[in-house]
């Protein structure tokens, strides 16, 4: 490989270890793995953009519904209380913990929702084999950066722990939003696994 200015266009470097490769996307259902550190570079699949798009759309609908429907109800000694996910997100707001409210609302509702919106925006034209929409690279970069901060699946574990803690204190009754949230955490995880980001970057560039 040379260092001439034209040659670098076809090269990629492993994001984890910097090993240099010629950027050749393997055939569908094959993986390109970094020889040195074992990181998966490309893992393209037949129709994966459409599959990821469908998952993302499902997640978006579920987030919207799960936010407003009754999430969990409790009752004890004739008193009862029902919370939506939105109430949970705002639970720190009556004290000096407003920043924590924003963080919790972000991690369980806003960031997951924004991420799937950005992914839909990025992938829609690629599926239709059109030019990417304006600022698609920016949209996809933000969605990638938000990945560790979208914590729907961790929230579900938190719900499970909370239910056990409550069980001795009051009667607990999961509402529709509870099941929607479990489904959305599962689908969001599957969606992340189905998306190969280097393939998407390559597609954004090629059009």
């Amino acid at each position: 490989m040379t260092e001439s200015t034209t040659a670098y266009k076809d090269l990629i470097a492993c994001p984890k270890c910097d090993a240099l490769y010629h950027a050749v996307i393997p055939d569908n259902n094959h993986r390109a793995i970094c020889d040195r550190c074992g990181t998966t570079l490309f893992a393209p699949r037949e129709g994966s953009f459409l599959i990821v798009f469908a998952y993302a759309l499902t997640v978006l609908v579920l987030i919207f519904a799960a936010t407003w429907f009754p999430f969990i109800s409790i009752s004890k000694a004739g008193l009862s209380n029902t919370s939506s996910v939105f109430d949970v997100a705002l639970s720190f707001s009556d004290s000096a913990m407003i920043p924590l409210t924003l963080a919790v609302a972000g991690m369980i509702i806003l960031i997951p929702a924004l991420r799937v919106l950005l992914i839909l925006y990025t992938l829609a034209p690629l599926i239709l084999e059109r030019k990417p929409l304006p600022h698609a690279a920016l949209a996809f970069r933000y969605s990638e950066q938000m990945r560790p901060w979208a914590m729907a699946e961790i929230f579900v574990l938190g719900v499970a722990v909370a239910l056990v803690k409550i069980a001795g204190l009051a009667n607990v009754d999961p509402g529709p939003a509870f099941w929607m949230f479990v489904a959305l955490a599962l689908i969001a995880t599957i969606q992340d696994r189905a998306a190969c980001s280097l393939t998407i970057w390559k597609a954004l560039e090629a059009k």
């Binding site: 260092e3 910097d18 924590l100 560790p148 938190g158």
Partner: protein
């Protein structure tokens, strides 16, 4: 010796993997800042690490939950809350809390410090093991947030006037900050540094 972007005088984008001539400031494909790891080094890692540790101390001293029932008013810390769960027989759930709020954060502080301190000491651990350790730290760190969510759920749900109510304590805030800061510490650790030394040897 493996040929890398750096040994070829290029700079690589850690977001989209594209390479550019050395010295370029931004990736033209995805717009990310191109970071020269020799210039930035480990300073941001240590800055976030220290911030995370400072927040982790009050997170364990102050109460996480304030529980009010008809006859009692209790405050419980992270470890205290887990101990109560064990006393009630919920050993599995107590284990989740202890793993997420004690084992993972403490393990993370040690692992990040180990990776950063022994970067030049290759005899202690192979590069592959270091890479694996780093990936585990990056993957698992977010799960510490679970206890903050538990507090959020309990305090929004358990609001039954005088019969039972739960409110967050100050530790919820500092614990959340500690998790966020250590996540940022892990993210700002450039795993390419693990592999660079081979090239220089």
């Amino acid at each position: 010796m493996t040929e890398t972007a750096k040994t070829s005088g290029l700079i690589s984008c850690t977001t989209c993997a594209r390479v550019w001539p050395g010295g370029q400031s931004h990736c033209e494909r995805c717009g990310s800042a191109l970071i020269d790891r020799d210039v930035r080094g480990l300073q941001p890692v240590w800055a976030w690490w220290v911030a995370g540790l400072i927040c982790y101390i009050p997170a364990n001293i102050y109460p996480m939950l304030r529980t009010h029932t008809l006859f009692t008013d209790e405050e419980s810390t992270i470890v205290g809350g887990a101990a109560e769960l064990i006393a009630h027989g919920s050993v599995g759930v107590a284990a989740i809390i202890l793993i997420a709020s004690v084992l993972i954060p403490v393990g993370k502080f040690i692992a990040i410090a180990f990776l950063a301190v022994t970067l030049r000491d290759r005899k202690r651990m192979s590069q592959h093991r270091r890479q694996q350790l780093y990936e585990v730290v990056e993957f698992i760190g977010r799960w510490s947030m679970v206890d903050v969510f538990v507090v959020a759920i309990l305090s929004s749900l358990i609001q039954l006037q005088d019969v039972a109510s739960i409110n967050p304590g100050p530790a919820a805030m500092t614990f959340a900050l500690s998790v966020i800061f250590t996540m940022l510490a892990a993210q700002s650790f450039d795993s390419r540094l693990i592999w660079d030394k081979e090239d220089q040897a």
